[in-house]
């Protein structure tokens, strides 16, 4: 059906007893030419320092408080192929993939195994209203001014080995630029496709800039198109300018052998608005790190998350909201249902810095455990150094309310149906925050079917894996 270009290299010899850390450092050193060749000078500029930090930090272990509930190390125990140049594909992507939300009209950006997939050979698309979207590598060559002072300024290379690794290895990804005062109603959709006939490690990088007064909606979807083992390590940096607004929806829908670690950093200027919605419907191992810095007064961040996990899936959401200046507001709501042997974790931290007075921050995490083997760890945290603030957090772990169940059953609703209704009601609170109507309806439907145990994931995929 498709063939692969010859441009791939396998990992360093497995015969040696090198640690994962050394293996990757060697991999980097041995392939430095290939990595830098396909990339721009601007991106290459940060690699050397990043690999040094990676050498220092390594892959985080569970002894790292931040990764206490997620075992990252075993993920690197598999053999992965790593590509340092885009694969040549000899098929039409439209034949193999159709979006789950057919009615949704979007500006589409496709990424295949970490490399931007050109739209009719155009690596950059410029919309009439000035919005630029396209390949990160290409954009960094064409628009260095937009990158300077932004690229790699938010990513925490110095504290997280995985981020440093991404900075060292990432060659491409998606770049989105929304110019000043441009209001785009049509969502911009990034679809990350993973397809390979080998196990594969994918590391790419996104940069999203929403200039002052601009408004945009970005939807990120992840799909696996072949039944191989995938490990993605993705860093996204987002800049929201003064008075700008961004809605960032992430839909994670991958198969059970895939693992995804995302690091999303957002910097918000004065009076800006941010809504993020992280919807984890499917995926073997998922770890989302979301860092939001409110660096201008009056900024507002709304973080929502939903995770529906079953079998042996693992979902770990780590959020960090930094109230660096006064008069900002943040609100966070993460909800999830865990079935079978699924495990989940939530770590939410709100930091209110000294002098960040008049801060209002709320955080809530609610989880339902459906079986005896499901497991949830939650760690909501407040770190507050200013006194005139209103901050609260709450966390619950429990099961469906028996009285509510009884109420419904007394009215002739079967037990299974009643449970599903309650679960749906439980998660709908998160879904209803999505402002894109067609998307919300579609997700409602997907969640509904997901709860009914029907695999909504592969519905539109021709692979039927």
């Amino acid at each position: 059906m498709f063939s692969i270009g010859v441009n791939y290299l396998s990992m360093a010899d497995k015969t040696s007893t090198l640690s994962v850390r050394d293996e990757f450092v060697n991999l980097y050193l041995n392939n430095l030419d290939l990595i830098t060749e396909e990339s721009s000078e601007l991106m290459n500029h940060y690699r050397e320092e990043a690999i040094q930090y990676f050498r220092l930090l390594g892959i985080p272990s569970v002894k790292n408080e931040k990764y206490k509930y997620s075992k990252i190390e075993p993920l690197f125990g598999y053999d992965y192929e790593k590509y340092f140049a885009p694969k040549k594909i000899l098929f039409n992507i439209d034949d193999i993939f159709r979006c789950d939300i057919p009615e949704l009209d979007t500006h589409l950006a496709l990424v295949l195994n970490g490399f931007y997939l050109p739209n009719r050979a155009n690596k950059i698309t410029e919309l009439p209203n000035g919005i630029i979207m396209g390949s990160l590598a290409e954009a960094s060559r064409l628009y260095p001014n937009m990158f300077k002072g932004r690229y790699n300024t938010l990513a925490e290379n110095t504290t997280d080995g995985l981020v440093a690794m991404n900075t060292a290895f990432a060659q491409d990804g998606v770049f989105i630029y929304v110019p000043r005062n441009v209001v785009e109603a049509k969502p911009i959709q990034i679809i990350n496709l993973l397809m390979s006939d080998e196990n594969q490690l994918v590391q790419y990088r996104n940069l999203i800039v929403v200039e002052d007064g601009a408004q945009a909606k970005v939807l990120v979807c992840d799909h696996t198109l072949s039944p191989k083992r995938f490990l993605s390590n993705v860093v996204t940096e987002i800049f929201v300018g003064r008075n700008a607004s961004l809605e960032f929806v992430k839909m994670q829908n991958e198969h059970n052998d895939s693992a995804q670690i995302t690091h999303t950093y957002v910097n918000q200027q004065r009076d800006s608005h941010l809504v993020t919605n992280t919807l984890t419907l499917h995926g073997g191992f998922i770890r989302n790190n979301l860092f939001v810095t409110l660096s201008g007064e009056g900024a507002d961040a709304q973080l929502y998350g939903l995770y529906l996990t079953d079998r042996t899936q693992h979902t770990d959401n780590f959020t960090y909201i930094d109230h660096a200046v006064p008069n900002c507001t943040s609100n966070e709501l993460y909800k999830g249902i865990l079935d079978d042997q699924a495990t989940g974790a939530f770590n939410g931290k709100i930091l209110v810095r000294r002098d960040a007075q008049k801060t209002q921050a709320y955080q809530s995490n609610n989880s339902l455990l459906l079986t005896a083997d499901a497991r949830m760890n939650t760690k909501p945290q407040l770190e507050i150094y200013a006194d005139d603030v209103k901050c609260s957090h709450g966390a619950t772990v429990g099961q469906l309310n028996n009285e509510a169940l009884f109420y419904m059953r007394a009215r002739g609703i079967g037990e299974r149906e009643a449970k599903l209704l309650l679960m749906f009601g439980f998660v709908h609170e998160v879904i209803k925050k999505i402002s894109i109507d067609t998307l919300r309806e579609r997700i409602d439907d997907m969640v509904n079917r997901r709860l009914h145990g029907e695999l909504s994931r592969c519905h539109n995929c021709l692979m039927h894996c």
Binding site: L369, K379, E383, A386, D388, S392, V397, Q399
Partner: protein, 482 residues
């Protein structure tokens, strides 16, 4: 308004620590430093049996392999463990008739602290074990208690006279290898209280231990063990103070509680170690391991603490809920002012079926202090129908202090219901305004609001302590408006 508030705040921060005096008592000390010889010396001084020495040496050898933990949200200066005197005891006086008697100066000290050592003078219904530096000075009401079979004595005495009980329960809740400070304590602990309540006995009076650090350059390492046999009940109080000194002193205690079937133990602490001066100089480092185990069915352990003192507090009274239907409670008010730091909270480990726990923590930070709540609620797989409710509120008085909440919830059973909520705020202007309008001065209004805020915890204290604690709150914070 603001100026007035600042003035009130500075009045508060300037308030004197009234237990900061030093008593001039002849004290017997051993050389500074920590090694196996010192441990042998402590053991010998206390006339301990061989097994106890072995216990200490084992702990010490393990301690040497450990590293000081750094995970707490605290700034701890380097502690030189070789620069501490591990044993200091007031010299025993012998009267003309050849009987042991208490140094009048020592008695005066405790009188001044409000802890009279003569039984007739005591508040009715409280038996006291008074500990000065490394040794127990006097335990009151022993005979009355003995009539009911209750053993209440110093730890050293218990090791000599009730070795079977001590061997059975010592380190059964906090193993010697548990953590850095527990290991250190196990190696060098010098005294403490031991209490055993026999089957079916409801202890007729409050038992209490009063800890006093007096000698300079020493550390206090005491160990308390409370065993409540089937169907028994005991309420235990603990208080502590220390002189004002410029250097820091280390206090690393271990408290173990064992509650057997249907037993109930209530442990209350009013911790008022010297907190250091307003520039953060001096004060006690209070690194304490407190843990209880509800070993029997339907047993109950309740921790209540009012933490106002210490330069640094690092303390997590915990309950292991092993027996079915057992119940653990933790009520805490932690106040930090000036440069004090506190990282405190509780652990509730649910193992048995239908176990329940409740955590209510109220933090109040003022000055440049940092106050953290850190807690763990863990529900193991077999803990059917476990139930936990945690509430952690923080009040900030002033814009240079910090209040933090670090709860951990680990749930491994679907029938468990675990809830946690936390809020952080300051006293609202509208609340003050409301009180002002009704004729209360701002200072009184703040006192009223803080007392109301902490009431849920203060109500859990035994009467004698509640009054004391309320006063303490008033002294350390009255009128401080941010």
């Amino acid at each position: 308004m603001d100026e007035k508030q600042d003035k009130i705040l500075s009045d508060v921060t300037g308030s004197e620590y009234k237990y900061g005096f030093v008593s001039h008592i002849e004290t017997e000390t051993i050389p500074k430093g920590l090694n196996e010889d010192i441990i042998r010396m402590i053991s010998e001084k206390k006339g301990e049996p061989e097994w106890m020495l072995e216990f200490r040496l084992k702990a010490f050898r393990h301690w040497q392999t450990m590293e000081m933990p750094h995970w707490a949200h605290l700034q701890i200066p380097e502690i030189n463990y070789q620069d501490i005197i591990y044993y200091a005891a007031p010299k025993q006086r012998v009267s003309a008739e050849g009987e042991k008697e208490i140094d009048p100066e020592l008695k005066a000290t405790f009188d001044k602290l409000g802890i009279p050592l003569e039984e007739q003078k005591l508040l009715a219904g409280v038996a006291v074990d008074a500990v000065m530096d490394s040794t127990s000075v006097k335990t009151t009401f022993r005979e009355t208690l003995a009539e009911q079979g209750i053993i209440f004595c110093s730890m050293s005495e218990a090791i000599r006279e009730h070795p079977d009980l001590v061997r059975k329960y010592l380190a059964s809740v906090v193993p010697v290898t548990d953590n850095y400070f527990a290991a250190l304590n196990s190696a060098v602990f010098s005294d403490g209280s031991f209490c055993y309540i026999p089957k079916g006995v409801r202890c007729p009076m409050e038992l209490s231990t009063y800890f006093r650090i007096n000698a300079a350059n020493t550390g206090q390492f005491e160990r308390t063990l409370i065993v409540a046999d089937d169907d028994s009940y005991v309420s235990y109080l603990e208080g502590c103070t220390a002189p004002m000194r410029d250097e820091n002193q280390l206090h690393a205690a271990v408290v173990e509680i064992v509650a057997l079937e249907n037993a109930e133990v209530k442990y209350s602490t009013v911790q008022n170690w010297y907190p250091g001066d307003k520039d953060g100089k001096g004060g006690i480092y209070n690194f304490v391991t407190k843990r209880g185990i509800c070993r029997g069915k339907n047993s109950k352990i309740s921790w209540t603490q009012v933490e106002t003192g210490s330069a640094i507090t690092w303390k997590y009274p915990s309950c292991i809920l092993l027996g079915d239907n057992s119940y653990g409670e933790f009520y805490s008010v932690a106040v930090t002012n000036n440069h004090q730091q506190a990282d405190t909270g509780s652990k509730m480990i649910h193992i048995g079926k239908n176990t329940r726990s409740r955590i209510v923590s109220k933090g109040i930070s003022a000055g440049q202090s940092n106050n953290s709540y850190r807690g763990l609620v863990k529900v193991l797989k077999g803990a059917e129908n476990a139930r936990n409710f945690s509430q952690c509120d923080s009040l900030l008085l002033g814009d240079k202090c910090g209040a933090h909440t670090f709860p951990y919830l680990e749930v491994d059973n679907p029938s468990a219901i675990v809830e946690h909520e936390a809020t952080t705020s300051k006293i609202g202007e509208d609340q003050i305004f409301y009180c002002n309008q009704r004729g209360l001065s701002t200072e009184d209004a703040v006192g009223l609001i803080i007392n109301g805020y902490a009431k849920e915890v203060l109500n859990k204290l035994p009467m004698e302590f509640a009054v004391e604690a309320q006063k303490l709150l008033q002294i350390s914070l009255e009128g401080s408006v941010g």
